[in-house]
Amino acid sequence: MSVAGIIFNIQRFSVNDGPGIRTTVFLKGCPLSCWWCHNPEGRAQGIVKINGNTIGQSITPEKLLKILLKDRVFYEESGGGVTFSGGEPLAQPEFLSEILSLCRQAGIHTTVDTTGYADQAIFKDMLPITDLWLYDLKLMDPVQHLKYTEVSNYEILANLEYLMKNQAQVIIRIPLIPGITATQVNIEQLITYLDKFDPKPEVNLLPYHKIAIGKYQKFNITDRMIGVEELSKEETDRYAAQFENSYFMVQIGG
């Protein structure tokens, strides 16, 4: 008996959520509430109606697989596959586990884009059926982390260490939010923390863009980023250089 999942978008031809051409599935519901969230409409669990728009749909793993298989030729040609993002995909573990297994059986590369905030047991379950993890790291300071995401970073760091210990393929994704994550102190703390891993994970830096403003307006969600400007290219490059100087593979965007 399969468990239906709640998703709020399927995006074909994604080229920035892992290698190659991918289909990204956005699972609904997220335990975090980041100030800069790009998909605020996907935070709440379950299907919701906001301002007359229905957000979310229920779908079985089998039905989802059928949609995902449509672009198989593109995955194979480009070394791509499927990415589960959100929301927080690990917040629907039964559904995620089933669809990951189905993809694995079909020979499709799988990526999970996670906040890292979930029970370690869930990571353990997903580990053998996930080819690549896109792992978000935001703030090293626990107090700051709590303030800007509404959860502690204790579990997030512990889970990352668990994945690394088990030789999972991990790419670290760091959103560069001006004045919040994109501070000299935070970047240095992140480098110091990530430096201990061997091998060193690849790092993607994701500069803040004001692209979600419209969504906040459309769905009538309080936007806590008003007045925050985008990072200049020079600043972004400077942070990238800092990681490179510590011998990390760095990519801006991802």
């Binding site: 995006q11 074909r12 031809f13 994604s14 080229v15 920035n16 959520d17 190659g20 051409i21 790009h38 449509k70 672009d71 030729v73 593109f74 040609e77 480009s78 791509g80 994701l206 500069p207 863009h209 004001k210 692209i211 403003i213 419209g214 307006q217 459309k218 965007g253 991802g254």
Partner: protein, 785 residues
Amino acid sequence: MNERIIQLRKQSTSAKPSISPERALLLTEFYKYPEARQVSIPVKRALAFKYILEHKIICINPGELIVGERGPEPQATPTYPEICVHSLDDLKILNDRKKIPFASDQKTRKAFADTIIPFWSGNTIRDQIFQAVPEEWKEAYSAGVFTEFMEQRPPGHTVLDDKIYKKGMAGFIIDIDHELKNLDFFNDPHAAGKKEQLTAMKIAANAIILFANRHADKLTKLAEKEIDEKRKRELKQMAANCRHVPAKAPRTFWEALQYYWFVHVGVITEVNPWDSFNPGRLDQHLFPFYEKEIKSGKLTKEKAKELLMSFWVKFNNHPAPPKIGITAKESNTYTDFALINLGGVRADGSDAVNDLTYLILDVIEEMRLLQPSSMVQVSKKNPDQYLKRFLRIIKTGYGQPSVFNTDAIIQEMLRVGKSIEDARNGGASGCVETGAFGKEAYILTGYFNIPKVLEITLRNGTDPRTGKVIGIKTGDPEKFKTFDELMSAFEKQLNHFIKIKIKGNNIIDLIYAQHMPVPFLSILINDCIKKGKDYHDGGARYNTSYIQGVGLGSITDELAALKYHVFEHKNIAMKGMLEALDRNFEDFDEFRKKLLDETPKYGNDNDYADEITQQVFEIYFRAIDGRPTARGGKHRINLLPTTCHVYFGSVIGAMPDGRKAGLPLSEGISPVQGADRNGPTAVIKSASKIDHIRTGGTLLNQKFTPSFMETESGIMGVLHLIRSYFKLDGHHIQFNVVTAETLKKAKKHPENYRDLIVRVAGYSDYFVDLTEELQDEIIRRTEQN
């Protein structure tokens, strides 16, 4: 781009296209000589060609390195009154029209009024065609069921191979003499006819040598007068080049380019066929010269680039001859469709990309001219580096090069019996047409309006626009119980009109074969010399006639709407649907919205819709493929529109896909504007469900914003999109990188731009779904690019 090229480019792009009466006057003069009436038609045509080349003004532009103009100066465009004589009204329309005008001055109009029109009026190929075709053909033609390419311009649609780089015209004359000597008047009843054809070819070959020598004379004179030492040396060298080619095989890169250019001017002076002429696989043909001279140090990369750029300007100096009426509507452009091919594979099947391929791509990127068009052939054997290089040109929004699948093109040619070497040495020309270069006459005969056939089927044979019965009675659609009944009526109606079109084609083929031979072009295409047969009469090794289907996306969505809403879900009866169409959806707004938003549509990887696409494809294929032509070849299909989807749409009323009366149809095999909502991979999946290998070309357009290809991952995404489409045997794809202007329109009229995807950093969305603020931001960013 150096100063010389900047000046040449400026001269070419700033000159206004105008009508030149020079050719028409020389031709008329020649036709009035008694000797013109005493010789056979092929010989007369050859002598006319010679007369023009003997007497026309020799134009050498300041600073140019490659010489030869069709008219007395750049952009001065001759007419071809033996094919179609322009009336004074035509000249006025051409002069005054806003789009694609051709200026004509008082002197030109007087020449037309006094000499050209009186001599040719009533005696043109166009007159012959309209007298010869049956009434039913004329009715269907006027209704906009199909167009006719040959009513104003002769067939051509062909491309050169590498033969001129190995043999001079003197060599071709030896070949002709050999065939003349071997004519067997006792056993071969066609020997006398062959003698005339071969004699004509020989006259034409000598004529082009004479033309080159006239250039050499003028260049020598210019060199004597020139005070700048450097230019003096150049002019002397150019004179020497023109003495050597086209008479003898070229020895240098420069001579090779000059030889081709004389041949090009020859072909477009003889009759300027459709698609003008085309050097084809330029990077392959020139590479031996390039490699040798680079190695020996006689040529530098910079000099080669400068020569190529001067060569590029020559194409741009030559707009397509002026078109009028329906022909202007189906192909309203100055482009004369010389489509230079790059990349692909060699005759032995190996990767053909070489250093010159990259150098020519640099030239294309820097020149940014309307002509020549350029395309890249992509084989699975070509390296990714090559794809990345041309994608960097595409992303600048220049619309060139377009991208073709070599491996599919080869299969298409093998299917119809061409040899593997001829297939590998071939490519695509014009818009997307497959052909064996240097060996095939592959002629576009006209566009075919597939949705119009459905419109007529839905009115049981009557064209609702005029109320005339032009089709056959295929049954009252209100009485159809199943979708299959409708499809079978549609197929019968389509077969009826295809039959009419093919009958017309066979008549027109014969008119050209008998009355308008092209001895000069015949020298250039195998096996005309060997067969002693003209290019228009089946002299080529392979002879193909295409009928180009238009509106595949539209017809799919129209049929899908009927199937879904009328036959399956019974949301509306056929009677109601027809009423909605008759009233152009007036008072049917809600219903129209349903048709637009709640119907399976082509371009979404939706099997419900795509199965209908396949059905229509099969019907169209069955109706045409393999039917014999008067030239001894076969009819084949391809799916491309040029600008005909706009004209065809203008003659069709409202249709069941929600399209209102008079609006354009979908183009090529692209989805209806705004109907595809699942992104490019879904479009490609839909487009590859038809069997491209059984066509002679299909055209798929994709839109992108420049920002999408800003990042490496974006470039790689598009690269893999191409590779995947080609793995699925897709024939062609081109990327329309949208401009800020388009985005502004999309903001204003979102309903027409539903399919426009834009990328903002690591996030993409439908442009029309973005908030105004974000739309403006993207518009600004696009403007900056």
